[in-house]
């Protein structure tokens, strides 16, 4: 059975801290790994990763994939209160069209 596990489940940090969110997966015929940010409403797309070792970056957010060890990390540097959200990891497989989502990491950034 395909599985996507995120850790930690929740995290509280102070503004300015750097955080690392983890996503490990066991998926047959891996195709892609995606990160989404969810702030009370719709998940919004952050990154899609398909190749190992290639960092994707957008402002203070970055992510990298390790296909050998079957995990990805999402880094947020110099956190701001606006980064408070649930971060979702999802994996796509060549066996179908659906994404397999993890349960998410709830991040709270305090002033």
């Amino acid at each position: 059975e395909d599985k996507v596990v995120q850790s930690p489940l929740s995290l509280v940090v102070h503004e300015g801290d750097t955080v690392t969110l983890n996503c490990s997966y066991e998926v047959t015929n891996f195709r892609s790994l995606l990160w989404y940010k969810q702030e009370k409403k719709a998940p919004t797309f952050l990154f899609m990763l398909t190749s190992s070792g290639i960092e994707k970056k957008s402002g203070r957010l970055s992510s990298i994939l390790d296909k050998k060890e079957l995990f990805s990390i999402l880094n947020i540097t110099a956190t701001q209160t606006g980064d408070s959200a649930v971060y979702l990891c999802a994996v796509g497989a060549n066996s179908g069209y659906a994404l397999n989502f993890g349960k998410g990491t709830s991040l709270l950034v305090t002033p």
Partner: protein, 116 residues
């Protein structure tokens, strides 16, 4: 571009009542999806469609039906609502090709459904 829209935003039903949730997208996406999100469970796929006139079951299809009569619309129906269907429902859509771009799904704002 409105992206993905969902109606209604909120709904309260009594057990046994029926309703239809409407999802519309203006991005000309072929693929559309319905998910439910419950506390501690993450997003789970209910049904999906890979084109007009096609539908397929996802992870948790029981108690739901769907229809894709027009490319831009994807309807989710509950024929006889149960309290276990209390949830937040999200619709999503994605590109047709090439792989793996089809994995980038764009989500609607959600419908919060309570079944009493």
């Amino acid at each position: 571009n409105a992206g993905v829209t969902q109606t209604p935003k909120f709904r309260v039903l009594k057990t046994g009542q029926s309703m239809t949730l409407l999802c519309a997208q203006d991005m000309n996406h072929e693929y559309m999806y319905w998910y439910r999100q419950d506390p501690g469970m993450g997003l789970r796929l209910i049904h999906y469609s890979v084109g007009e006139g096609t539908t397929a079951k996802g992870e948790v299809p029981d108690g739901y039906n769907v229809s894709r009569l027009k490319k831009q619309n994807f309807l989710l129906g509950l024929e006889s609502a149960a309290p276990s269907q209390t949830s937040v429902y999200f619709c999503a859509s994605s590109y047709t090709s090439p792989l793996p771009l089809t994995d980038t799904q764009y989500f609607g704002p959600g419908t919060r459904l309570t079944v009493l």
